[in-house]
Amino acid sequence: MHVFLFLCIFGIATVQAQNRRFHSPTEKFAFAGHLYCTGQYYRAVEELIPIAVGDSVHYLLGQCYLALDNISATLNELHAIKDRNLQSGLVQNCARQLLVSNSKQLLFSELFADKNRFHSPAMLPVQISYRFLFEEYLPDTTQLKESPAAFRNFLLQQHVKREHGQYNPLLAAGLSAVVPGLGKIYAKKYEEGAFSFLLTGLFTYLTLQNIRHHHATRAWITGSSALLFYGGSIVGSYASAVLATQQEQKSIESETIHFMKENNSFLPAEKAVVPCR
């Protein structure tokens, strides 16, 4: 009897030993987590695809795709997740990635389509920042009041800066048409404005002098140059205003992103599936 029992137990244990191949779904998932944590995203995806069942797997797959910058695949995984917390975690990471990579409008509607994903008050700064950056309007005061004071103040300050950082290109061109170089000064290009004014003035003066002394050829040459600089000043002022507005907007954007990163406006996922050490 004892011998029989021994053989049975020994046999079962031996068979188990032979069967262990580290390819069961649980082991694959654990290994995929390790691959993800060590930055081997392609390999992690290959491990996860055969076992793509369950929220945790979809979440990890989504994170891998996100790390690989494959946004459409990330969204597919996002839609497959049923657990709200996990979904919200992945959306936050998506938002972070998008904000950092400055991919404007790419997933905005998708990420914010479902209001329930952002029921958490802590997610409010993310929403507000997105609207501020991508939709270019300041959210209403109710929403602002609910957000943290430091964030609110910063955003209001940025909003004022943005209002002041808008330069009208037509106005700049008009100013330069009246006084050469004034449009450039309006667009805060002081040196260029002064240079433009002096050059146009110099050639105009030379033209007048040449006309006065009946030097027709010279008058033509200097007159053409004066006209060239005058026209250049108008076109240049228009371009400067456009450029200055863009630069100002870019600086506001990067400051806002920097502020959000510094103040950790993005929360970590509420339920970490694979904690990386």
């Binding site: 004892h2 029992l5 244990a13 030993a17 262990r20 191949r21 580290f22 290994f31 390790h34």
Partner: protein, 281 residues
């Protein structure tokens, strides 16, 4: 102790023995699977499987073998930097001096393929300083020679191979290459004396002849202008035309010599890669 209890303990221990072996056996199977992938020319999957062994090998029994395998797989896949990183980790995990040396030589070959000769010299110097490596001094000289070849210093490489017993072929080959190479300074010098001669020396006959022709023409014109007291013309022709072709001839000669030497360097390494049968990166 009662007999029944004794029997129970014997059964218990015997039944759990496979359990203790279980991890080992399975890991060994996994390792063999990874090795088979590597030997069948599938380095990408081999790396994944080695990584799997590393992850599940909680007792760190196969660390060296896995890291060495991973390094080989990366090497086979042309990922030399990753291979070097794995080899460095494998050296730290190596169980004995022979395994350490094996990985060090692997690392040297890998670094050579990366053209990172500074790292090779560093590694070889460190190995030479270790007294335990006195027995493999010839092998060290051999790899110094290879590093010098990759550094395009064929004469020095021949010297290193001269100190090895079984590297006569490489020594003679290096001397041949050294003799075949164009002396850049000499070529510049002859171009300085006779414009265009450097280009002709490197086999660019038309370019050399044209250079010589332009220099003769503008030299004649500027001298002629000075002789006729047209000083400004003389200066302008000499400065803007003659000097331009004279310096151009010099630069061309140097460029052709460097290009020809580069071609010789590439062809020589290619020959070694395809034809040489001994130890090579």
């Amino acid at each position: 102790m009662p007999v029944k209890a004794l029997i129970f303990w014997i059964i218990f221990c015997a039944a759990h023995f496979p359990g203790f072996c279980q991890e080992n056996t399975a890991l060994l199977h996994q390792l063999q699977f990874a090795d088979s992938l590597l030997s069948s020319g599938n380095p990408y999957d081999a790396v994944t499987e080695y990584e799997r062994v590393l992850f599940f090998d909680t007792r760190r029994q196969f660390t060296f073998r896995v890291l060495a395998g991973k390094a080989s797989a990366y090497h086979q896949g042309g990922k030399y930097q990753e291979a070097a990183e794995c080899a460095e980790l494998a050296i730290d995990a190596a169980p004995g001096i022979s395994k350490i040396r094996e990985m060090q030589f692997f690392l040297i070959q890998n670094r050579l393929l990366q053209h990172n000769t500074a790292a090779v010299y560093g590694l070889l110097d460190a190995m030479r300083q270790n007294k335990a490596n006195d027995t493999i001094a010839a092998a060290l000289q051999y790899w110094y020679g290879w590093a010098k070849m990759f550094d395009d210093d064929w004469e020095q490489a021949a010297n290193y191979f001269g100190e090895c017993d079984s590297a006569d072929f490489l020594k003679n080959f290096c001397l041949d290459v050294h003799n075949k190479k164009y002396p850049v300074s000499f070529i510049k010098f002859i171009s300085l004396v006779l414009p265009g001669s450097g280009s002709i020396y490197t086999g660019h006959y038309l370019s050399g002849a044209l250079s010589l022709g332009w220099n003769v023409l503008f030299g004649y014109l500027s001298v002629h202008a000075f002789q006729e007291q047209r000083i400004l013309d003389g200066f302008l022709i000499a400065d803007l035309l003659w000097l331009r072709f004279y310096t151009g001839s010099l630069e061309n000669a140097e460029k052709y010599a460097i290009e020809a030497n580069k071609k010789i360097y590439i062809e020589s390494l290619h020959f070694l890669e395809t034809e040489y049968q001994g130890a090579k990166p």
